[in-house]
């Protein structure tokens, strides 16, 4: 296992910048997820690490060795493709043995390692099958075994779960994480699914338009998003635009004055991000808090969401644990007056320049 360093990695296609000076240090045995909407440059970055795309500028080092201009077959990366890319004309065992064969591992040792790798992904009994005789989940595990058996310096996963159904996705996710931990694999994982990234990764890299928006642990990204893009992409956020008028005081565009920690912010335009699950909904008009009318109640099982139109016209979404029978909140419906409160320190002020992520389709 080796550490992976990307140093101002850049890829341009004509005038289009797909990856804009991405720098990243993946420590030994660490799992880092590249996360972002489609077209954000995450797959391009991964393919540059694997050597399938030549960078326009920048450096890639694996275990201290500069591999920027090495062809893929001299890079010592093990990649799991979104499509699995198994060799259709080879059996499962031959697929897994391929990398060992390329490394000229003696036959007897190779056989042992292939068997061990297949046992690791619980496919030992299917060694002689052809890929097309396997289910999607099994093919996925063959692809994992094939990449792992060579003990790659860096393990690369390109949306490996996107072709699996929801239940299987959860299983394989856990499996990948266990394997990665057990084998201490330095891993880069590409996904557009923030939940997948939050549950799998030690650290996340959020990309948008080829630019790194923030790097951090799941908790850091969730609790302290660096900008509006991250605030909206990792979990959900209510965003209120307005201005900081003085220390500790923020006024929204609709004129609502709020107490907010303003450390690091001078008076002027800003945006306030607030997690729906930090807001408490109190039925009726209460003394302190922000009042409004419920526009929509959405029952989600464990939680219930209240979309509230504030008196000034702005909207906030609050997420509460679903109230038990007898709770006055249980009777709150559309049109009812409610009061919203939240601890001031859960508000996060952000620069107002970047919009929340838009839902651009495609993958």
């Amino acid at each position: 296992m080796s550490e992976l360093v990307l140093d101002r990695l850049r890829k341009e296609y004509g005038s289009f910048v797909a990856v804009d000076d991405v720098s990243l240090h993946v420590r030994e045995g660490e799992l880092v997820a590249l996360l972002g909407p489609s077209g954000c440059g995450k797959t391009t970055t991964l393919r540059m690490i694997a050597g399938f795309i030549e960078p326009t500028a920048g450096r890639i080092t694996i275990g201290g060795r500069d591999v920027t201009w090495d062809p893929p077959y001299r890079r010592d990366t093990g990649m799991v493709f979104q499509s699995y890319a198994l060799f259709p004309h080879m059996t499962v065992a031959q697929n897994v043995a391929f990398g060992l064969e390329m490394r000229k591992v003696p036959r007897a040792e190779a056989e042992t390692r292939v068997r061990r790798a297949l046992d690791l992904v619980r496919l030992g009994h299917l060694a002689d099958r052809l890929p097309r005789q396997l289910s999607g989940g099994q093919q996925q595990r063959v692809a994992l075994a094939r990449a792992l058996v060579v003990n790659p310096g860096v393990f690369l996963l390109d949306e490996p779960l996107s072709n699996l159904d929801a239940k299987l996705r959860l299983e394989v996710r856990v499996e990948i994480r266990e394997l990665q931990k057990r084998l201490g694999l330095t891993t880069v994982f590409v996904t557009h699914d923030q939940e997948e990234a939050l549950t799998l990764a030690d650290r996340l890299v959020v990309l948008d338009h080829g630019v790194v928006q923030q790097v951090g642990t799941p908790e850091e990204l969730y609790e302290a998003p660096a900008n509006l893009f991250v605030a909206g992409f990792i979990g959900r956020s209510n965003v209120l635009r307005g201005r900081v008028v003085e220390r500790g005081r923020f006024v929204t565009e609709a004129g609502l004055a709020l107490a907010v920690p303003t450390d690091g912010f001078e008076p002027g335009a800003a945006a306030l991000a607030l997690r729906p699950e930090r807001i408490t909904v109190i039925p009726g008009a209460a003394g302190n808090g922000v009042s409004g009318r419920v526009a929509l109640v959405t029952y989600l099982g464990a939680a219930t969401e209240y979309r509230v139109t504030l008196d000034g016209g702005e909207s906030l979404t609050a997420s509460m644990a679903t109230p038990r029978p007898g709770d006055p909140l249980k009777r709150v419906g559309a049109g009812d007056v409610v009061t919203l409160t939240w601890p001031a320190e859960t508000c996060r002020l952000l620069a107002p320049d970047r919009g929340a992520p838009t839902d651009e389709g495609g993958s």
Binding site: A50, P71, P72, Y73, S83, A85, L86, H89, F98, D128
Partner: protein
């Protein structure tokens, strides 16, 4: 109740209809083949058993003497050998030339791709005779190649290129190349690029990727393309006549001679059958060997 029954009946009736429609779809094509291929061939075969008479043209008989004559005459054996040799060489060379180009066409993301495909297909729109005439202008003693060689002072006398086996090979390869390229291209396009990338990622250099992944996976295309091209080569007519000259004989021109010049229909018919059967046999042998190799490799590599 009655409605449900009617519905069920209608449904099963529709299903029965779908079943009977399948074979019916093949009827027009089958009739066409029967009328325009099987029937003439049957008549031709019957002719090949007849006896030739210079005065009476054709005498009804059931004799193998036309076939015996062919296989005992060194000249005709030579014609068949030349035909098979030309066809084999042209198939092999066109395979070699076509593969890289087909790969390029299959893998390119260029917006010129359709222009490239049209460039490959374009020669098919020009008849064989026209193309052979073009080659004559290129390869003749007065042609472009000799002009260039003389002009560069590489030779003092024009090199004889026309009316040589070389010219025939070149001409035939040029004719069949598009078929090979297009067949291979469609098969290579079906092979995911990610499979090549996976091999490369696992440590395989370009040659190994080709040998272990690309070639085995494109073998169906190699077989289909080679079969198609081999059959075309075996039956080449205009190119050997125009570029090979009178001394160079392949089967198709030879049997044409029998029908038209010597008016020996029974022997011509026998030649036609020998050409057809030898093409068929060689094609079957070739595809069997190749596809067995494809399966063999699969089994050989299996650990148990």
């Amino acid at each position: 109740m009655a409605r449900a029954a009617a519905l069920a009946a209608a449904r099963s009736g529709r299903r029965a209809g779908a079943f009977s429609l399948g074979p019916a779809l093949a009827v027009p094509a089958a009739l066409l083949v029967a009328a325009f291929l099987a029937a003439p061939l049957a008549v031709l075969f019957r002719y090949s058993l007849n006896r030739y008479s210079p005065r009476e043209f054709m005498i009804d008989a059931v004799t193998a003497e036309n076939y015996i004559r062919f296989f005992t005459d060194a000249y005709f054996i030579g014609v068949l050998a030349t035909t098979v040799q030309v066809a084999a060489v042209c198939t092999a060379v066109s395979l070699l030339f076509a593969f890289p180009l087909a790969y390029l066409l299959a893998r390119t993301d260029s917006r010129w791709k359709s222009a490239l495909v049209i460039a490959v297909v374009f020669p098919l729109m020009v008849g064989n005779v026209v193309r052979a005439a073009g080659w004559m202008a290129v390869l003749g003693n007065d042609g472009i190649v000799n002009h260039a060689l003389l002009g560069l002072g590489l030779v003092t006398q024009p090199v004889r290129l026309m009316y040589t086996p070389f010219a025939v090979h070149v001409g035939i390869i040029a004719v069949v190349l598009p078929y090979m390229i297009l067949t291979l291209q469609s098969v290579i396009e079906g092979i995911g690029r990610d499979v090549e990338e996976a091999a490369s990622n696992l440590g395989a250099g370009p040659i190994t990727v080709f040998r272990r992944v690309l070639l085995p996976l494109s073998l169906p295309g190699v077989i289909a393309g080679s079969t198609l091209v081999f059959i075309l080569c075996m039956n080449a007519y205009a190119t050997p006549v125009l570029l090979g000259g009178p001394q160079f004989k392949m089967m198709a021109p030879a049997l044409y001679d029998q029908f038209v010049r010597t008016t020996n229909w029974p022997f011509g018919a026998a030649l036609a059958f020998i050409l057809m059967v030898s093409t068929l046999v060689l094609t079957v042998i070739g595809t069997t060997v190749l596809s067995r190799r494809m399966h063999h490799r699969r089994l050989e590599a299996a650990p148990r």
